[in-house]
Each structure stands twice: as C-alpha cells, then as structure tokens.
Amino acid sequence: MNRAGFGGTPADIETLRKMGLYRAVSWFVDYDKIPDPTPAPDWAHPDPDIIARREAIRNAADPETRRMLQQQQNQEQTSQIADLRYWWIRRMALGSRPFQEKMTLFWHGHFATSFEKVQMPYFLWLQNETFRQNAIGNFNQLLVAASEDPAMLIYLDGANSHKDAPNENFAREVMELFTLGEGNYTEQDIQQAAKAYTGWGLSKDRLRYEYHPGNHDEGPKTVFGQTGNYTGEDVLNMICQKPECAPFITKKIWRFFAQDQPPPPIVDALSHEFLAHNFDLKHLMRAIFQSKEFYAPDVIRSQIKSPVQWLIACTHQLQAPLPTEPMSLVMLRQLGQDLFQPPNVKGWDGGIAWVTTNNLLDRDNFAAALVEGNRVPLPGLLGQMRGLLNSMAEDGLMQIAPVDVTALFTAGDLSSPYSFLEALQARFLNAELKPQRLASFTEFLKARSPIEETDIRKSIRLIMCTPEYQLT
C-alpha cells in the first residue's frame, strides 16, 4: 500500500491484507478495471489565442505595455502550473488508481522536464497524460512517445535542432539517463544520433508535435557501429535493443519502489523477465510486487519517504483532508519536491538525498501544522515566500483545521500509556520505535492518565518527528 501507492489508514491496509498477495497485487496493477473519472483541468487544451497573444507582446507599442502583457502571461502560467500541481497531488491522494499515479510519478522523475524551461503548463499536462497512458505499457513505445512529446522537445532542445548543426542535448541525455547509463555509448554515438533526431519539432503555432522533413538529416549515421539512414525512432529502437537497457530500467524501478541499493541478482532476474516479455512494464511490475525479495525484512521500510509520499501518507494516517493548494505546494517546495520542476534532467535523486538537517527540521515543523492546524505559529517558516503567504493567509487559503485526533483511537487504545503507544506505532509506523525513543515516549506519557486530547496531539506530532517515521 505504501510502496505501490501513497499509504492508507489502518483500515485500508487491513482490507488489502485480507485480499491476500495475489489479489492485492492485481488490485493495484490491473487498474484499468477501475474507472477513473478524474476530469482534466479546464485550461488543459491547446490555446488557439496564444499566437495572437505572443504577437501582441512582440508588437506592443511601448516597453511599458509589453512588460504588462508579459506579466499577464507569466501570471496566467504561474497560476496554471500551481493548479496542475495540486490537481495531480489530489489525484495521487484521492484518485481511484494510486498505482497508476505512483508509476506516473516515477516516469516524471525518469523523463524529467521542468516548468522553468518548458513554461507552457499545457505541455506539462500533456506529458503527464503521456506518462499516465503508457505507465505500464511497453517501454519502447513509452520511450518514443516521451521523446517526441513537446515538453521534452523543448526541455532538451530537440525542437531547435537542425540538420545543419544538430543539438546534442537530447541525444546525450536519452542514452545517459533514460536508457543505458553513462559509459555504455561513445561521444561519436551521441553526435551521430543527434543527426537522426533532427526533423522532430513543433508545429508553427507551437502547440503540438510536428515532423519537419526539411530539417531532417537524410544522410547515413553510424550508431553503435551500425550504419544506415536512420530516423530518430530507428535509433531509439536500437537503443532499446542494447543489452544495457533492460537492466538499467529495471534497476531504476527497483530503486524507486523497493530499495536504494538494488542487489545485482534481483536486477538480473527481473530484467530477464522484462526482456523475455518484450519490455512489458505491467509484467515487470507484477513480477516485482509478487517477488519474495520485495517483502524481505531488509527491504521493507528501508526507504526514505519522498516529500510527496510524506505529505499524502500523513493525510491518510491523520484521516485529514489534503491541506489547501498553497499550503500543500509550499510544503512540497520547501521539502525539495516541486512537481513539474525537478532540479535537473536527472530528476530527483531520491534516497538519503531527500534529507538534510534543514528539511528534517521542516518536516518536524510541518508535522505540527498538519496535526495542530494553524494554532501553531509558523514564524518565518516559509522563508522567501512569506509575503505571498501572508496575503494568502488574509484570504483564508492558509488555513489548516486541527485534526480530530480522538477519532483515530479507540477507548481501549487510550486506556493506558502502553496500549496508546502500541496503537500510535501501528498507525504511524507500522513498526516499532527504537528503544531509546520508546523510552522517551514512555517518559512523556507516564504522568498522563487519562490520556487527554492534547496528549494525543503532541504524541502524534512527536512520532512524526522520529527518524523511523521518515521511512516507508
């Protein structure tokens, strides 16, 4: 539940447990049987007026007007990207197909592109849909689809590449980061492949992909020692046939879903399965979730939660609604996972890179805000965004209601510090605290009988500040 999706309440987990492994895995993986009625954001369509508006900016009578029009456009894009981010977070947290969204998140980090360069939120939504539709389809098809997607063509400069002077940006990253890994190709492969990708571009209105035969280098290219008049798709297919491709993808998927340091025998076995089934991602994911290695003691709860995982799992455990849009987005930015804006083309590094002294303290303080609501003062918590936040606070957008903590525990749970601590660990950790921290909690609770609401609240916040809580 935590690893294939985004966590759940103890009741959700119990429901899944009763299904047994086979049916539970099927519930996640065969998600096409579950309807997902989530509508697209209402602005998510090609904007036919965009040309006219760009012209208006370019032809503005004076710099002042131009600046104003440009600012309008920027504001609209900023509000759309915020909308898109929250739309996706809601879908991850509340949608009917958590595994499809988890996989979409994986592909977003794998085929990383950023709002900073792509700018058009429509393209980022379009790419997000490409990932969602192909989330567990065929990897070779996904690779082609992701490569010809407008967001990628802009982010890695494919749309600006021309046969007279091919741009190597995409040609390098597709082999280094998306398929083979550094060291499994030569500089010549990059330069030759860059020629093959020429011709891919955007339509004149820059709203969709378009192939421009006049830009394509028709000449022979030598890639991986083979020569031919290859197209971009030809080269992508050749890349998939390289022996390094299947293990590279398998290892990255295992690292995302299971364990930071994937053991070579597991990667070997799974990538053979993956190859034998012609890059069928659904088959691979089912094999992973049904493997006994996925449930080995040193694999379970060995990963540090990503900020998205942390936020959504918190709300499930607290049985609380998602915080408002600005509040959710500010937390994720501060914790280092701005959706649609990864740090670079490599995506988020994940693992222990999620955690620094600074963002551990942030996690601890955000935990207070989630549990206590706005009763907790958050002085200066949000740094440079303080001005923005204050204005939002005036509009009531920064409100978080305190969690109804009494609804999370039965009278039996609250009958003694001991039973309370058991229930607390079961809900928030699904595991035990280390002895020293257990002792701290025992000390904290020993004089508190009966256990009052405020004790529960503080205990929840404290358990969310433990190192154990950061694991999933």
Binding site: N167, E168, E176, I304, L361, L381, K458
Partner: protein, 445 residues
C-alpha cells in the same frame, strides 16, 4: 606518549571508533570527545581546525557547464570569432583584462574586483580525457578523482576526515536543499541550511514538554555501549552522480538519526548567530545574493565554519546562450561584489577566499540554436583580499588543430587549484586529501 595505556587507548579509538563505520552513527559531539583524545595523541595529523580566526573557503558551483569563452573572452582571437558567428561578443563591448583577454560585459562586478586586486583567474582548467556528462563530470570535480576512477568521498570530505575529524557539524555549511557530494566523507560532516529563522524545532504551546520530549529522543543514552558495533565492516558513503547514497552495511535509519542529531546540535547555534547580525546590508534581489548574504551573516556572527557551499544554476546554455549566460554572470558578479563589500565592512574579508567551479566549459563552435554543447576546459575564478591578482595558468589555444573533438585542451588540472588552496589557504597537506601530488600555483600573496 610513553604511557602504554594511552597508546592502547589511542589505537583502540582509531580502529574502532574513528576509523570504522561506527562514526556514521555516533553523534558528532560524542565523536568529538574521542577525537580530542585522538588529536592529543596524534598531534598535527588530526589537529582540530576550528576557531574564529581561521581561514574560510566559500565554494560557488556554477551548475550546468559555464561557457568559459564567453566569460573570459579572447577578444583579439580570430578563431574565437570564426567559431561563433552569432554568439561571440564584439571586441568593443569587452571589459579588458589585458591585451588579449577581457570579461563579458555583464561581469562588471568581476571587473571591479579585478581592478581592486581581489580576483585571480586560472585559465584553461580541466582534467585528462574530459567527460561530457553533467553528472559524471560533476562527480569528478566533487570527488577530485581521475576520469576513470570512481571515488566514494568528496574532496572536502577527505579534508574533514584529515584535518577536522569529529568537529562540530557546522564546520561545513551548505546553503541549499541538497548536501553536495564534495562534503561526503567517512564520518559525515556538514549541515544544510536555507533559512535560519525556521532552522529549529518549533514547539506547539506554552508548556514546553513537547520540546523536552523531542530533545530526549536524540540525547545519547549513557547506558548504550558505543563500542559494540557487531560485524559492521568499515563502510563509507557511496555516491552516484553527485549524490550521496547509502552503501552496504548502512541503513537509512542510521543516516536519519545522525542527521536529526546534527540538526538539533546546530540549530540553537545557527539561530543565535544569525540573530547577532541582522540582514541590513545591501544585496541584489537574486537568490544567489540572498544566500551569500546569509553566509556573510554566519561569518560575521562567528560560526566556526571553514567551508561554505553555495550554488547557482542555469549555465547549460544549449540554446539562446547570450541572454541566459550573460544574465547568470551578471547575477554572479553583482552578488559577489555585494558579498565582498559586506565582508570588508565587517572586517572579515581577509579571512575569506571564494572559488567558483563548473563541471565543464562548452564547445568552441556554437551549435545551430545560438547555443553551445557540452565541452571541456574553462577558467576558474578565485576571489579574496590577499589574492595574487591577475591571470594564472596558460591561455588555451583555439587553433582548430589544437582542439580535441572540438574542445579546448586543458593546461591546468583542477586538482592543482585544489592543492594550492589546501596548502596556501587552508594550511593543510594536500597529499593525503588528493592522493597524489599536483603542482601548485601561487594564488595567495
């Protein structure tokens, strides 16, 4: 030193505590206690390098691959102008440094530092068989490795291990969201900080029992025997492409405990120090300038930090380079000018050196999108009050017959610059840190 008991204890400590994987999980100040004993026993090798008057190094990473040729421009060189018909900088716009090199017109901040004698430029810095991947080349710069060697620790991490093991975690401060690989070390050192106001645990009410409980969760239990480590073989932090990741034998939980502890230990001090120096000096509005301003406040307040790390992105200029790179360089130069002015006003400039670096320079020839693709050697900037002002290292040739795969060939290995800084500025022997000798340059007067 003749005391056999002491010798035994020293050896015991070296093999079990400071030398082994245990340092990973032992809280900094526990390690420090033992480190002091260790230092006493071992003299200069492990001299604890803290103190309010010690020299400070500020690193600025220019992420993405800063194009050297459009930063320090060979403005009389026809090869330069032929290779870049649309993005070269006309000679009459250059800020000249001598009769062949000049700065990009956006670098007025750098020019004033140069004119004041505070800027050294090392020409043509690189390494043999340059790698053009952002991630691999960043890793090479961060670990100071050969192109074909994969090292686990960062070059500054090895400095910490050698010169200040067991120090306070604030010995190294990264301003930003991700700890740089350069800090990764056998006994992890350094904190990440973005905003000092929120760098603390905030209790929820008047009654502070919550904070008391929070603190007790991380206070080392005196009954716990820190010497019993079981079969954990000497591990260290392993890195993949510029990132710290766990190696076999270490768990994410160990890492989290250690980081929580360092956060707790450093947070009180950071707030106290930031509070002493209000942010009232004049800095530009950029994020980089704000980060350097925070560094200045921490220096002014007396944090015992030796290494600060700041980064600036946006140098991967495959398209429309002039707009993008010029803006970044202006932001950088203006921020550095404000930073050095601030340090001067606080009487701290003479103990600060600033070094910029980038994973690579860019191709000599522009591409078809008014940009440049990944290249090799490029200049580095060194700034300080006591710098040898001027141009160091041989200027690389742009003659097409001298290029390799279209790239400038390096004249100065980047590890020569590191070695010079370690020796002349941080006053430590570079050999154990870099693993092999590199010729040094005269950088400090």
């Amino acid at each position: 030193m003749n005391n056999p008991l002491f010798t035994t204890r020293r050896d015991f400590l070296r093999t079990t505590l400071l030398g082994g994987a245990l340092t990973w999980t032992v809280p900094s100040f526990v390690a420090q206690t033992f480190s002091a004993l260790h230092a006493e026993a071992d003299g200069a090798l492990t001299q604890v390098a803290t103190g309010k008057d010690s020299p400070i190094l500020v690193l600025i990473q220019l992420a993405g691959g800063n194009d050297g040729l459009n930063a320090v421009v060979p403005y009389t060189n026809d090869f330069y102008y032929n290779a870049r018909p649309t993005i070269s900088i006309p000679a009459n716009q250059i800020l000249p440094l001598n009769d062949s090199l000049g700065l990009n017109p956006a670098m007025t901040g750098f020019k004033s530092l140069f004119d004041a004698g505070h800027l050294s430029i090392v020409n043509g810095v690189g390494y043999p068989n340059p790698n053009r991947s952002h991630f691999r080349s960043t890793e090479i710069w961060q670990t100071a490795s050969d192109e074909d060697k994969y090292l686990t620790d960062g070059w500054l991490g090895r400095y910490f291990d050698n010169a200040c093991q067991g120090c306070d975690p604030t010995i190294a401060v990264n301003i930003g969201p991700r700890l740089p690989q350069a800090f990764a070390s056998h006994s992890p050192t350094g904190i990440s900080l973005e905003n000092p106001d929120s760098y603390r645990f905030i209790g929820s009410g008047k009654n502070d029992d919550e904070t008391v409980a929070y603190r007790s969760m991380y206070t080392p239990n005196p009954d716990e025997n820190v010497f019993e480590t079981g079969g954990n073989s000497g591990g260290s932090v392993s890195m993949v492409s510029g990132t710290v990741t766990l190696q076999n034998g270490q768990s994410a939980l160990d890492f989290l405990e250690r980081t929580s502890m360092d956060a707790k230990v450093s947070s009180d001090k950071i707030r106290e120090i930031a509070g002493k120096t209000p942010d009232n000096s004049k800095y530009p509005a950029s994020g980089l300038a704000k980060n350097l301003q925070l560094v200045a406040r921490l220096i002014g307040g007396g944090l015992p930090t030796r290494i600060f790390y700041v980064s600036q992105g946006g140098y991967d200029t495959h398209t429309g380079q002039r707009g993008g790179q010029d803006a970044r360089l202006r932001e950088l130069g203006d921020a550095l000018k404000a930073f050095t002015d601030d340090l001067t006003a606080m009487n701290h400039f003479d103990r600060v050196m600033i070094m910029t670096f980038s994973e690579f320079g860019r191709r000599v020839h522009e591409n078809g999108s008014q940009g440049t693709d990944h290249g090799a050697a490029a200049p580095m900037f060194l700034i300080g009050a006591n710098m040898k002002q001027g141009l160091l290292g041989a200027e690389p040739s742009l003659d097409p017959t001298d290029l390799k795969d279209g790239d400038i060939q390096y004249n100065t290995d980047f590890r020569s610059v590191y070695a010079s800084i370690l020796q002349q500025w941080l006053k430590t022997n570079p050999l154990p840190i870099l693993g092999e000798p590199f010729p040094t340059l005269p950088i400090v007067t």
